[in-house]
């Protein structure tokens, strides 16, 4: 078959000219269990210092929805040597930026600043890992701030983030995967100072964390600083993670919601995915790119361009919360679309099933497979561009797999995926019985 030979030669040529990225990784552990990752990068005169704690909103205490996120705010309220808001003051006075966020399986705190200021960031992160100091007054203040955050990002917005907040609640059965991650206002307002202190003691221990330093620094210069600030923080006994496994779904789930603030209908749906470590996972990642990775993808072309039902199409793995690698537990492959008045979510799902059936029956083309690998590599490099992006991936790989050097083996693991594996993944996972869909329509005005 001559055309196959041509395709093969082209593929070889493309691989031969492909530039690879090699991320330097130094990885070790302090005696108190703190994992430390250092990675040099000298393109910009900047550094990111990030601490990732192995506690996300997925496993926050039952009955206290939103607590992990409320707690994240408390980490900016002061520690033994740094008063409330002084953390931000110091970072900014040194020319840097800072933030924190709560995700499914970790809570992170980071600052990116000129690289000659790396020691300031290490001092600040160590001080709050060692000695959080919170008061009733500061807790009340942050309960108000977080309640406003929930109003601002959820309650006062059309669609109210239904594509993850509501989808996870409806798609899952295990409470840990199926509760309101942002939190009910009632629960947020009920939190007590004792809960905050206990949560800190339980989860914010060096042996439940990764410190990552990425940027324009020499490892041999920063190691003594890490030693100086972190080594005598005492370890704690961190509880076992609860069972977060999700029972297999056996029937399709359909939910209808009405929206007081939206003007147009929207649909979100998700399929349960195999474990990240399973042999199917790389195939699923590439399958996602082929069906909804860009404007050339099968779902975008079908729903937005051919059928003219959808206005937009978005989606992915760990959608709106992270990427394919920075989580640890059950996961959904999500799609979200805003569609035109006069159509229905049912119509869209019928088209989605037709697209899935086509892949299940006929597989994907050689060109689609080749392009998906290029697309994967290009997207992966986007994650490595900034010192923070790199720190995020290194921290997740250290936290969840104890192996940050995986960062250099990911691209090659995806180069070997075959069309057959993708077809078989479509047969296993893109099934209505494995899917939950929420159709959200404007309330009649």
């Amino acid at each position: 078959m001559p055309c196959r030979v041509v395709a093969l030669l082209l593929a070889v040529a493309a691989v031969a000219s492909a530039k690879t990225v090699d991320v330097p990784v130094e990885y070790y552990r302090l005696p108190n269990g703190l994992k430390v990752v250092i990675s040099e990068a000298h393109t910009a005169p900047t550094v990111t210092v990030a601490v990732y704690y192995g506690i996300g909103f997925r496993v926050e205490p039952k009955g206290q929805t939103g607590f992990a996120h409320l707690f994240e705010h408390m980490m900016f309220q002061g520690s033994a040597n740094v008063k409330k808001m002084e953390h931000a003051k110091i970072v900014e006075a040194n020319g840097g930026v800072l933030n924190g966020s709560t995700r499914l399986d970790f809570t992170n705190y980071y600052e990116t600043l000129p690289s000659d200021r790396v020691e300031k960031a290490l001092f600040l992160e160590a001080d709050r890992m060692r000695s959080l100091e919170v008061s009733e007054e500061n807790l009340k203040n942050q309960q108000n701030v977080v309640s406003e955050e929930v109003r601002n990002n959820v309650l006062n917005q059309p669609y109210a983030l239904f594509e993850w907040l509501d989808l996870w609640v409806n798609a899952n059965q295990n409470w840990f995967n199926a509760h309101n991650f942002y939190g009910d206002l009632h629960d947020i307002e009920a939190a007590k100072i004792g809960d905050v202190r206990q949560f800190f003691k339980t989860y914010y221990a060096p042996n439940n964390a990764v410190l990552t330093i990425v940027g324009d620094v020499e490892p041999k210069a920063v190691k003594p600083m890490v030693q100086k600030y972190f080594t005598d923080i005492p370890l704690q006994s961190v509880p076992e993670r609860p069972d977060i496994n999700e029972p297999q779904q056996s029937e399709e789930k359909r939910v209808k919601q009405s929206d007081k603030l939206a003007n147009l209908p929207a649909l979100a749906f998700g399929y349960h995915l195999p474990d990240q470590e399973s042999a199917d996972y790389p195939a699923v990642v590439l399958l996602n790119l082929i069906v909804q990775g860009d404007d050339s993808s099968r779902l975008y072309q079908r729903l937005v361009k051919e059928k003219e039902i959808s206005l937009d199409w978005g989606g992915g793995i760990n959608f709106e919360l992270g990427n394919e690698f920075d989580y640890d537990g059950p996961m959904l492959l999500t799609s979200r679309t805003t569609y035109k008045a006069g159509h229905t979510g049912d119509e869209i799902l019928k088209e989605v099933d037709a697209v899935a059936r086509d892949v299940q029956e006929h597989g994907v083309t050689a060109k689609e497979l080749r392009d998906a690998k290029v697309r994967f590599r290009s997207n992966f490099y986007d994650q490595l561009e900034s010192t923070f992006g790199k720190a995020n991936l290194l921290a997740a790989l250290a936290l969840f797999h104890d192996d940050p050097s995986r960062i250099n083996r990911i691209v090659s693991a995806y180069e070997v995926v075959t069309a057959e594996q993708i077809q078989s993944a479509a047969k296993k996972y893109l099934l209505p019985t494995n899917r939950t869909a929420i159709d959200r329509v404007p309330e009649k005005k």
Binding site: V21, K84, M85, V97, D116, F123, K140, V374, S378, E385
Partner: protein
């Protein structure tokens, strides 16, 4: 001392190579090899308000359909070719310009430039794509108008700029039907010309080799005759006016308040940018300390020195629960006036200087982010040495310069306050601050 004053070492910026092609295209090349990719931005000086009185939405639609087919490629072919190089291409149309931003793996940069040229030089405006884009654009406007931030910003622009092109944000959906394929093609032919454009390429590149590639891809594109940018006089506001956009059922009031500011190229930009960092342009800012960390009224109050090519605004914003709408406006006005009446402390100013300089250097962490920064030099007519002289200009500022800047540009007595919220629930809290115009949708 934990708080350090200035950055120790001068920032080492990448070398910027600029060249004008014979067809008038300004080409700017910046090596930033953090990953093996490149980002290209091709910018035309055609803002969203271009010709809006006759054809509102024309500039936006013309930009939007650029990537939906050329004389030799269908939309789908174009998107598949982009996919094969790990690339993407998006068009944005803002107040001053239409920009095509494209990126790809650097090993495929010749192909990326060829696609960019094809889209810019030979857009086809296929009838089916124009029809679909018109329908979808109208629906998207309906969707945008359900978002409180969008509504507040749209109203603020109208209030500040009136009939100046900057006062136009989106057309009424019903007006889009009147735009024709012929009109779009004409718009493209006159505005998307190389001598009305600049091309910025940032990333994993060698300037000489890249210039060669650019020349090959875009060198044969013919000059055009773009009409000059329209810049009618700006409306002058004599007193404060409140615009209340009613959004029944809203659980928060979204507040935007501000006043007129100069164009970006004005020497007032750097003092104003620095004043902004102290007021609400950073995490440890006065607004954040007061209305978030002290009072707990809001999640993320902020302020922006929003300076563009022909004019600007200075504005500050917060979304707050209904019951504290009045108290929040009171505090925002207080913080604005405080900076106009009293000097900032030396500590605040030193911190703002370091923050301002340090965060400019952080923009080198991203090819797209740095391309945006370089683009401001060309779109806003800034001096070519903007980056290398920035720290010197910032470090020369005194508390008095900040106070003068605030006194001039934080003037809410001749500004506008926009509130998007539930009118019946909060109207009594608004009344003390000025005359209210109620807008119902």
């Amino acid at each position: 001392m934990l708080i350090a004053a200035f950055l120790a070492a001068a920032i080492h910026w990448p070398t910027i190579t600029e060249k004008k092609l014979e067809n008038g295209l300004t080409v700017v090349l910046v090596p930033l090899p953090n990953v093996p990719k490149v980002t290209a931005q091709l910018t035309f000086l055609a803002g969203r308000g271009t010709g809006y009185r006759e054809h509102p939405g024309m500039a936006q639609l013309a930009g939007r359909v650029l990537t939906e087919g050329t004389t030799s490629r269908t939309s789908k072919q174009l998107k598949e070719e982009l996919r094969s190089i790990g690339g993407s291409m998006n068009v944005t149309v803002d107040d001053d310009a239409t920009t095509i931003t494209a990126n790809a793996l650097s090993e495929f940069s010749p192909k990326l430039l060829a696609l960019l040229d094809d889209v810019a030089e030979h857009p086809a405006y296929p009838k089916s794509e124009v029809d679909l884009a018109k329908t979808n654009f109208a629906q998207e406007i309906e969707e945008q108008r359900s978002q409180p931030d969008f509504v507040a910003n749209e109203q603020f622009e109208k209030a500040m700029f009136g009939r100046h092109p900057y006062g136009f944000v989106v057309p009424e959906p019903s007006a889009i039907a009147g735009i024709t394929r012929e009109g779009l093609k004409q718009f493209a032919a006159s505005h998307y010309a190389p001598n009305n454009a600049h091309l910025i390429v940032v990333g994993d590149l060698q300037p000489e080799a890249m210039l060669e590639e650019v020349h090959k891809a875009l060198g044969a594109w013919k000059r055009g005759t773009a009409p000059p940018l329209e810049s009618p006089p700006l409306p002058r506001r004599e007193k404060r006016q409140i615009y209340f956009v009613d959004r029944p059922g809203s659980v928060q009031s979204t507040i935007v308040m501000g006043a007129a500011a100069p164009p970006r190229k004005s020497p007032d930009y750097i003092p104003l940018r620095t004043a902004n960092m102290i007021l609400g342009g950073s995490f440890y800012s006065r607004l954040m300390l007061n209305i978030r960390e002290n009072k707990g009224y809001t999640y993320s109050p902020f302020s922006v020195a929003d300076l563009r090519r022909r004019a600007g605004t200075f504005w500050t914003s917060a979304s707050v629960r209904n019951e504290v709408t009045g108290p929040t406006i009171l505090e925002m006005l207080y913080e604005l006036d405080r900076m106009r009446v009293l000097p900032v402390t030396k500590e605040e100013l030193d911190s703002a200087k370091t923050y301002s300089i340090g965060t400019l250097a952080l923009e080198m962490e991203s090819q797209a982010g740095f391309a945006n920064r370089i683009n401001t030099i060309y779109t806003y007519q800034l001096p070519r040495n903007f980056l290398v002289t920035f720290d010197e200009k910032v470090n020369a500022l005194k508390p008095d310069d900040i106070q003068k800047s605030a006194a001039t540009y934080f003037d809410t007595y001749r500004g506008a306050i926009v509130i998007v919220g539930d009118y019946t629930k909060v109207k009594d809290q608004i009344a003390p601050f000025g005359d209210v115009t109620l807008i119902k949708r």
